[in-house]
Subunit: 199 residues, 2 copies
C-alpha cells in the first residue's frame, strides 16, 4: 500500500538529510587550483556537469538524463563506505560488501518504491554493462586526470603513480565507455608524466 | 559551420575546467552537522538530488530531467558574481547585471550551439515562468531551511532573521513552485523560531 503523502515526504526528507553527509567525505583528488582536496558532493556535481556537456562523445546512443541521475546517486554509498582512492591498495571484495550494505541502508531510508528505483539505477551503474553505465563510469574516471593536469599532478604525485599504472587503472576504464575522451586526455597525460620524469 | 570534434572538445573542456571554480564559492548555509559553510558546487549537487527525490511533489506536470539540468547549471554564474546570501542586503539590479555578464562569459566558453542551449536553460530558470523553473527555484529555496533546522539555526541565526522575514523572502518562493514542500517545512520552521525566541 502506498504511504500517505506526509509519511512519504518524511521518509524522503530523512534520506535527503542523511545524504548531506556526502559533503564531509574527502577524496584524493584536489581542485583544479590545487588549494585543497575535493569532497564527494562536489565531485558528484562535477561529473554530472561533465555528462551534460560531453554526452555527444558517447560511442553509443545514450539517455543522458539517466547518466546524470546515475552520477548524482553513484557515490552516496561513500557516506558509510568512504572513498577508496583509485591508486590506493584495497580489498576489493571488502569494499564491495561495504558498499552493498551502505546502499541497503541509505536507499532504504526512502519509500519502498523509490528505494527500489534508486537502488536499481545504482546497481546498473555498478554492473557497468549498459551504454549509460559504461559512459557514466568512464566520466567518473575522466574527471580526476583533468584536475591533476590542472593542479600540477595531484593524486598522481601523492601516490607516486607511473604512466603505466595510470593507463591500466584509469585509462582502460575511460576508453571502455568513452574512447574519444581517452584519445583527448592520453597525450596530455603522457606529456605531463614525461615532464615530471614519471614515465 | 560545426567545429571539428577536437576543437569542440577543447572548448567543452575549457568550460568544464573553468566550472571547477564553483567549488571555491562559499555560501551562507552550513552543512547539516554545522561543521562549516557549504560550497556552491556542493549545493548544486544537493538541490539536484532534491529534485530527483521530490519531483512527485511538484504541483504541475514537470520534466524532471530538465529541472535537474537547470539545477546543475543554475549557479555557475557565481564563479564571477559570487553568492548573494538571501538574508543579506543587495542591489538586485547590480547583481542581475553581474550574473548576466557571467553567463555571457562562462557559457560563451562552449561551442556556440551548446552555449546557446545551456544559456537558454539558465535564462528559463531565471525567468521563473515555466513549471520546471518554478519547481527548480522552489527547491533552491527549500534546501537551506532544512539545513538550518538540522544545524541549530545556521544562516537564520547568523543574519538574525525573524520568522516574518523568512516567510517573506523564502517561504513565498517555496510556496510558489512547491506548495507541498512549504506545508511541510513551515510548521517545523515556526516551532524552531518559537524555541529560539526569534518569533
Amino acid at each position: 500500500m502506498m504511504q500517505s503523502d506526509t509519511s512519504r515526504l518524511d521518509a524522503q526528507m530523512a534520506f535527503l538529510m542523511e545524504a548531506d553527509r556526502l559533503k564531509s567525505v574527502i577524496r584524493a583528488t584536489k581542485l583544479a587550483d590545487g588549494s585543497r582536496k575535493e569532497t564527494t558532493a562536489e565531485h558528484s556535481w562535477q561529473v554530472a556537469l561533465f555528462a551534460l556537456t560531453l554526452a555527444e562523445h558517447a560511442p553509443e546512443d545514450i539517455d543522458t538524463a539517466k547518466v546524470v541521475t546515475m552520477l548524482i546517486l553513484h557515490d552516496l554509498v561513500e557516506i558509510d563506505a568512504g572513498d577508496a582512492p583509485v591508486f590506493g591498495e584495497h580489498d576489493a571484495a571488502a569494499i564491495e560488501a561495504q558498499e552493498q550494505a551502505a546502499a541497503d541502508r541509505i536507499f532504504g531510508l526512502l519509500p519502498e518504491d523509490q528505494a527500489m528505483r534508486f537502488r536499481a539505477i545504482w546497481d546498473e551503474f555498478e554492473a557497468n554493462k549498459t551504454p549509460e553505465a559504461r559512459f557514466a563510469k568512464s566520466l567518473d574516471r575522466f574527471v580526476p586526470p583533468n584536475l591533476n593536469l590542472a593542479n600540477g599532478g595531484g593524486s598522481w604525485v601523492d601516490y607516486n603513480v607511473s604512466f603505466e599504472t595510470f593507463e591500466t587503472r584509469v585509462g582502460a576504464k575511460i576508453r571502455n565507455g568513452a574512447p574519444a575522451l581517452w584519445d583527448w586526455v592520453r597525450p596530455r597525460a603522457a606529456a605531463f608524466f614525461d615532464r615530471l620524469g614519471m614515465r
